[in-house]
């Protein structure tokens, strides 16, 4: 089975994020990056399926040269090879442009299953997996908490508010996995050493057959108008227990519709 994982490499959790006031985009150049933990879960799921059923796992990512360390991380975990979409022209792509690029890169590989995180941990849009599935013409199966493959059929447990839905799909398909689907493995030292010998194919937008006006800032249909800080947290409500504290808390939870 040929598995493609679309995963993002993002500024490391230790980095204080800065926003460029002119582009209104996150400053990524010169910043330490790491494989998004959500993407690491997607890679892990791909590796587990490949270990069980045989096959390859290819990571596809898009980003500046700083993301190489995250690609190497996925390769060190055990991914077979990687594709890096590296092109100044794709900077500022919106979700649709990103999905077009990723789908075009996926089409260059043989694939039975595409695995994505539900959303990245830096921009949280959550719509790229569905858009990729659209461009690939395969069914998107989302919020997966468990994936099982049986021949050409895939079954997932789809997390819902009240429990799980069991969803079946034929392959090829795209699955977006929920956070917590697994505990990503640490790379073995041998894996880190082996990763440097693994292939990373580098594509530009032109290599993928996408004209410059369809990708990057030029092709973006979404525009970030302003960026601001979230409102300061309001002071909390103090409940003094004088015999009916529990009831007050229950009333409060009912008021905000938690129960």
């Amino acid at each position: 089975m040929n598995i493609v994982v679309c995963g993002k490499v993002i500024p490391a959790s230790s980095v204080t994020i800065e926003i460029d006031p002119n582009t209104k985009r996150m400053v990524r150049k010169g910043v330490t990056h790491e494989l998004d933990p959500a993407a690491a879960s997607a890679v892990e799921e791909g590796l587990r399926l490949a270990e069980k059923h045989g096959g390859t796992v290819t990571l596809i990512t898009m980003g500046i040269s700083e993301v190489t360390i995250g690609i190497r991380n996925a390769l060190a975990m055990g991914a077979t090879s990687a594709v890096h979409i590296l092109d100044d022209a794709v900077a500022g792509s919106d979700t649709l442009g990103t999905a077009k690029l990723l789908a075009a890169a996926i089409k260059k590989q043989p694939f039975d299953l595409v695995i994505c995180a539900t959303e990245s941990s830096d921009s949280y849009s959550g719509i790229v997996p569905g858009q990729i599935a659209h461009f690939l013409g395969v069914p998107p199966v989302t919020f997966a908490k468990e994936i099982n493959v049986d021949g050409t059929k895939i079954t997932i447990k789809r997390q819902s508010e009240s429990g799980y839905d069991i969803v079946e799909s034929m392959l090829p398909a795209l699955v977006a996995v929920s956070s917590g689907i697994n505990e990503p493995r640490y790379p073995q030292l041998k894996g880190i050493m082996a990763a440097k010998k693994k292939e990373i194919k580098v594509y530009t937008a032109a290599d993928l057959g996408l004209p410059a006006d369809q990708v990057g800032e030029k092709g973006a249909r979404e525009k970030v108008l302003t960026i601001g800080r979230p409102p300061k947290r309001q002071a909390g409500k103090v409940v003094t227990d004088e015999g009916e504290g529990g009831k007050q808390i229950a009333d409060f939870l009912a008021e905000i519709k938690v129960i």
């Binding site: 360390i69 030292l189 880190i192």
Partner: protein, 386 residues
């Protein structure tokens, strides 16, 4: 001249940091308070292959250099942990690798690489022979196809956490030797099946390094477990000293960084007399000075490691790295303790634990006085000072 680490070395640093995060301060604090062995940590590192960094690929390791190995150990100490608990598993096998025969290497190295066998005890020091290793009195007497070991060792760590131990023992009486550096031999002692009486008495020390006194009473070692030539053991252990000194220097640098980061953070947050204590030069400058000294020692450490990996002579650099790094770490430890005031003595702040740990590095595996004696005599050509 390039002072930058390679991408691969940077990745090694980042990955070992991630593994160490799973073992936070509270883990090490509890291990220390109970005088336990950090089994889960050592097992995790073994499973992931980190302790097989120096074992060649043909024996199941990754065949990395001292530079990479030193980065691994540095980051363990930098994370708040104690690399000493497992560093010997990484490098004790060097004596076997350099001087063992093919059969010995094939028998032991792959299992050491996988962690199935632990070789992390090296019996050298004796009550009457500390720094003067050529004076050891424990004997190995050949009887047919085996040696009988009799004598006593002290300050031997992790014997109870090892399957194998390397042992330096006397095979020719001292008085019969013209060359006093000869007459000692190195053996692999399989602790799982050693016949005879071997008594292991744990020592109660300031640090939790699982250290023991050993009493050998007719312990049998098969003759095939002799490493290299009989009588050449002292030369063999000397061969491992440069590597050990570089690795210990890196551990000290990891400690130094831990102390400086904790001190700088506390100094910036702790408010006394209406302002952070770090705004007082009396607090800030010792931390800054220790930082400069740790960074300077780090440069010598990388110089030593680079020369070692290029197979160039590096005795002076390895010794200087150990000296400078252990002193810089100790300076940082004191700055950190002073910065924390009374809280520095509180177990829950971890400063006192690291303070005890890092003090050892000025004394072991070689006293800094002997490092100075080496530099004075062998590098600067002055008369022998001891």
């Amino acid at each position: 001249m390039d002072f930058n680490l390679t991408q691969e070395q940077l990745q090694i640093r980042e990955e070992i940091k991630k593994v160490c995060k799973e073992f936070p301060d509270a883990y090490w604090r509890e291990i220390d308070s109970k005088k336990d062995y950090p089994e889960a940590f050592v097992r995790k590192l073994s499973e992931l292959g980190w302790l097989a960094a120096l074992i060649p690929e043909e024996y199941g390791g990754t065949g990395l250099g001292i530079t990479e190995a030193s980065i691994i150990l540095e980051e363990i100490n930098h994370s708040g942990g104690v690399a000493t608990v497992c560093h010997a598993q990484m490098y004790t096998m060097g004596t076997l690798l350099r001087h063992g025969n093919d059969e010995q290497k094939r028998r032991y190295l792959p299992k050491i690489a996988s962690g199935e066998l632990r070789l992390q005890a090296f019996g050298v020091t004796e009550p009457n022979a500390g720094s003067e290793s050529t004076r050891i009195q424990t004997t190995a007497t050949r009887k047919g196809n085996r040696y009988l070991i009799n004598g006593q060792k002290i300050f031997i760590s992790r014997v109870l956490q090892s399957d194998l131990m390397l042992l330096l023992a006397r095979t020719t009486p001292y008085d019969e030797l013209k060359d006093k550096t000869k007459g000692l031999s190195v053996f692999i002692v399989d602790l799982r099946e050693a016949k005879g009486k071997l008594e292991v008495k744990p020592l109660d020390l300031m640090i939790n390094h699982h250290t023991n006194s050993l009493f050998f009473d007719g312990v049998e070692v098969p003759a095939e477990n002799l490493i290299g030539e009989e009588g050449m053991g002292f030369r063999y252990i000397i061969d491992g000293w440069n590597a050990e000194r570089i690795l210990v220097a890196a551990e000290a640098i990891g400690d130094g960084r831990w102390f400086i980061e904790r001190a700088a953070k506390y100094a910036s947050e702790r408010i006394v007399f209406g302002r952070p204590i770090g705004s007082n030069q009396g607090i800030q400058f010792p931390i800054a000075k220790a930082y400069a000294n740790v960074e300077a020692a780090d440069l010598v450490r990388y110089q030593a490691a680079t020369k070692f990996d290029r197979k160039e002579k590096c005795g002076a650099e390895a010794n200087m790295a150990k000296l400078l790094a252990s002193e810089a770490a100790w300076e940082a430890a004191n700055a950190c303790l002073t910065t924390h005031g009374g809280y520095g003595f509180a177990v829950e702040y971890d400063v006192e634990r690291k303070f005890r740990e890092t003090r050892l590095l000025t004394v072991a595996p070689v006293s800094n006085n002997l490092v100075l004696a080496y530099l004075g005599q062998h590098v600067l050509g002055m008369p022998k000072s001891y």
